[in-house]
Subunit: 319 residues, 2 copies
């Protein structure tokens, strides 16, 4: 929910004159996306999204994100297509921020996850992975395994204020995840944040995958582990195996998992759970009292992590 940067009429008009997308007919801030300012832009040619990149996004990563979307779209994935300005560039400056226009995607993200969403989700994720092949750029996962220990260190002094013993438990769990982390799994371009609000559906089909601003080059199956955490839990504690089986079935209908990928699912799921637990814990401890935007409860992911540690093998996910 976010519009952080106001754009004046003059600046907008000047910005749009750099593009060949018709004349402006409407411009409204969108209350979605937490990292950037997003506007719905309507012109005589159709609907677009204007994104201004705020300080949490590293400018140097923008060519990767925009290039990846362009590559994925060219390879058939329904993701936003960055629109190139008259000079051929897809990244410009507006109101003192880096800015891009992308195409508008129809669809609605599911507020209630249903089983019927899960197989299409898995298939779309596998398509994303295949479509990413051949993309020449790479980006290190800024929230990958080597970031978790420093992230935990920042929250450690106050972790037990959230739950008694949480700090020590997370240290022990993290040490085990780091020791078990797989080294030789297939790597490629991953979304790394494919939560329900980033997946649009229309009449039961996936109509759009959005928000590639955590995308990076990392273990493909880790992206599945993120989705199992984000889409398949009930009450944050219990895996709905019917759903996770559907995600995996959808995925494998497009890209077959190797035995090593399947065997790594539990540790990847633990890793994905601790990644979101750690960022939420940090936000929880560092959001001022009384802020109107309530940080997400980190314990939702603590419960998931506990589940993944009780699991003895990939069978628990329905394989």
């Amino acid at each position: 929910m976010a519009v952080y940067t106001e754009v004046t009429d003059e600046a907008l008009a000047e910005f749009l004159s750099l593009y060949d997308i018709g004349t402006l007919t409407a411009f409204r801030g969108i209350a979605e996306g937490v990292e950037n300012s997003n506007y719905a832009l309507k012109t005589s040619e159709g609907d677009f999204i204007l994104t201004l990149y705020e300080k949490r996004v590293n400018k140097e990563d923008l060519p990767y994100f925009l290039g990846l979307m362009e590559h994925l779209r060219a390879h058939g994935l329904p993701c936003p297509l960055p629109v190139r300005a008259k000079d051929g560039r897809n990244l410009k400056e507006l109101a003192g921020k880096m800015a891009a226009i992308t195409t508008f995607l129809p669809g609605v993200w599911p507020r209630h996850i249903k089983l019927a969403h899960c197989e299409p989700l898995g298939a779309a994720l596998a398509k994303l992975h295949l479509a990413g092949e051949g993309f020449a750029m790479t980006r290190r996962n800024g929230l990958g395994p080597d970031s978790w220990s420093p992230l935990l260190a920042k929250s450690l002094p106050h972790a037990d204020s959230v739950l008694g013993g949480l700090g020590a438990e997370l240290q022990a769990w993290l040490a085990q995840i780091e020791a078990d982390w797989p080294k030789d799994l297939p790597v490629g371009q991953i979304h790394a944040d494919l939560f329900p609000d980033n997946v649009f559906f229309l009449e039961g089909q996936i109509s759009g995958l959005i928000d590639f601003y955590f995308a990076c080059t990392d273990i493909l199956a880790y992206d599945i582990a993120v989705c199992l955490n984000a889409w398949c839990f009930e009450n944050h504690a219990e895996l709905n195996v019917t759903r996770s089986r559907a995600v995996l079935r959808g995925y494998q209908s497009v890209r077959k998992l190797s035995d090593s990928e399947i065997n790594a699912l539990p540790v990847l799921a633990r890793g994905a759970a601790i990644r979101f637990l750690l960022t939420r814990l940090y936000d929880w401890l560092n959001t001022p009292e009384g802020a109107l935007v309530t940080p997400k409860d980190p314990l939702d992911y603590y419960r998931r992590l506990r589940f993944h540690f009780a699991v003895s093998g990939a069978g628990a996910y329905g394989l």
Copy 2:
């Protein structure tokens, strides 16, 4: 900037089935409007706005607001038209809130006010006043003169924390405004909150007036006074007379002001300034420290009020 209520897919689908506006193609939260939850709704038939009324809006006022928009639109004003459901009603329930669908209006609200906006603004306001004639319902101005004293009383204990002596100064000013308040000016349906973010322009013309949720039945010229405050000041302290003259010229090109209305402009402008000063002061003193939404500085309207008290007659506004 606001989406307070989440709408599930199922609830949305059921809600839309009550209307005859085509099939859903997109649904996004809008980051504008502070009182209600607003969504941009796109269907096979076009663009709409879905509004969920949050607790700051009194349910009993909704038939007035929606009825007024329908009346104004029928009389040629470019305001949102409430869409009637199949059963003929324009007000329904969704996600536990009262909800309405209105038509989408093109245009962009001016982030930078320019002289060229002011004459069309004045003319549009007068058209609103004329279009409101014949509307049978009335609504008391909940933020009218009789609300100001109780509102000030709530902020008085802490007013001086904002500016030394502010409390006593406001008490004295308010007493004078109350004593001078005009009794016999023409009354009708007024917008009462026609700030720049409620006025859309397209190619120099007004394409839409929105957000009628402060509308009420009150002194017509008070609406002009609100606009003079909202559109014609520079640095919150200096009236730009060229702009205020343009607003008044635009207004009078459609509806001629009487001598009594003209003579009352200074006290009406003082009243409008103290109304926004008092609500902002209250929000300022009652917004928790560190909240992500910064309340607006009440002193912006203190400076305007000071200007209006230094004025000896309507000539100061360019008449």
